[in-house]
Amino acid sequence: MNMPFYVAPEQLMKDRADFAQKGIARGRSLAAVEFTDGMLLCAENPSRNLRKVSEIYDRIAFAGVGRYNEYDQLRIAGIRHADIKGYTYSRDDVDSQALANQYAQMLGQIFTHETKPLEVEILVASVGFDTAGDRLFHIRYDGSVTDEEGFAVLGGEAEAIRERLGASYSAGMSLEEGLRAAVSALAGDERRLSSSELEVAVLDRLDSGRCFRRLENGEIDDLLS
């Protein structure tokens, strides 16, 4: 009779974490930056169709890195959660914190109970009517949540990018300044990223309805030039 080998829980968790981290590290990174009139989400993404950044609700956006099919499922679940909540209660009752908690629950559950953890890291961003109301929730593959202030970085080279962005970020930046900081932090010192390699969207806090808006290549070029 075959006896299963004993594996210490610490080792089991570590193996799973390593596996997920490896998957995430293969993909390109993204950054979110708060600016005076809203939130900017900027991803390095050569694809026009497989989006990393998308709309969840009036004032909430979603961004994911890692395996596309996995974070896309999470994106759709988030839209469903928000739309059902808005339908049942009111559009004002849909908030990013509840959504972030739901994501954390789900990722944590899958990390400990399923055969394979999700190889994703996601960001739930929302804008208030002033900067004090802005939220950035960074949720990792194991369900751990961090509440980020001002900016957030997700993906393979997050550490290096976070350091670069931290150096150039300051509160009260304009959209233009925020985008420049995000793009140069993503690119690093040796590269230059053009608009065709970028996916950029903003949550514009001055909008009254759905605040999410994608920036077209021309617009990105104008802001970066």
């Binding site: 709309e55 469903r80 959660h81 739309d83 059902i84 339908y87 049942t88 739901q102």
Partner: protein, 276 residues
């Protein structure tokens, strides 16, 4: 509230209606309505006349503001014209409760699809969605909760405005020029029919809608006319390449003033003695 995650075989896709069914939140089923019995006895709030017509560059959609319950006016400033999304609008006539719920779900359905799929439905797809929702309401309609909407939008693939009329069974009829629905629609339609011209300008079309609604209110007691005492006027919205846009109330009020002045001039003082 559970996090809505489904098996691939059980996934509701981009449909918000399906999602509501799967989560048990869908509105009243036909069986419930059957149990509730006939609504004829209950005085249900009804919305009345709505009209729509094409012009050069888009479509106009308009509706009066009165809701009635039997012979009483139950609401004076009801909204019957709504944006469905950025490039389309919907106007409703019929039982107010189910009609407003239908509009709410319809708006959410279009938004939900757009967010899940990453691009909006085609205009025809939107028109078909409304058709399916009406079909779902058929048992309730048979019990007296009739809803008859008009759907108008700007087709961004073909670059022109289109409008659709419906019947209670969900039948969808694309109209070439104009459409009217609700209790005063007979009078409104006649006015539009007489005044409609191909490729009329936006201003001409707005004036025509105003005349049509005025005629409907003049002859149908369930349709509300311009109420200058309370400052309540019908809602008129244009849908063009620039999207859905409601006209300013002051603009509508001024146009009604002109129509009323014209009308008074034509009629002259009443000479027939009113003896009952």
């Amino acid at each position: 509230m559970n996090f809505p995650v489904f098996d691939p075989t059980d996934d509701p896709g981009p449909s918000f209606g399906e999602l509501l069914k799967k989560t048990g939140l869908a509105s009243t089923t036909s069986a419930d309505v059957g149990r509730a019995g006939s609504s004829k006895a209950a005085e249900i709030t009804h919305g009345t006349t709505v009209v729509s017509a094409k012009y050069d560059g888009g479509v106009i959609i308009a509706g009066d503001r009165r809701a009635t319950a039997g012979n009483l006016i139950s609401y004076r400033n009801m909204k019957k014209v709504f944006p469905a999304d950025r490039w389309s609008g919907v106007a409703i006539a019929g039982a107010a409760g189910p009609a407003l719920e239908m509009v709410k779900v319809f708006q959410l359905q279009l938004e939900h699809y757009e967010k899940v799929e990453g691009h909006p439905l085609s205009l025809e797809g939107k028109a078909n969605q409304l058709s399916q929702m009406l079909r779902g309401n058929l048992p309730a309609a048979m019990q007296g909760l009739v809803v008859v909407p008009i759907f108008a939008g700007f087709d961004r693939r073909r670059n022109y405005g289109r409008l659709f009329a419906y019947d209670v069974t969900g039948g969808r009829y694309e109209e070439e020029d104009f459409v009217a629905s609700g209790s005063g629609s007979l009078f409104a339609r006649t006015v539009i029919k007489m005044g409609h011209r191909d490729s009329q300008t936006q201003t001409e079309a707005v004036d025509l809608m105003i005349r049509a609604l005025f005629a409907a209110a003049d002859d149908d007691s369930a349709t509300g006319g311009p109420d200058s005492m309370r400052g309540i006027y019908p809602i008129v919205a244009t849908i063009s390449a620039d999207g859905y846009q409601e006209l300013e109330e002051s603009d509508i009020a001024a146009r009604f003033e002109r129509v009323l002045a014209e009308f008074a001039e034509q009629q002259g003082p009443s000479t027939a003695g009113g003896q009952a």
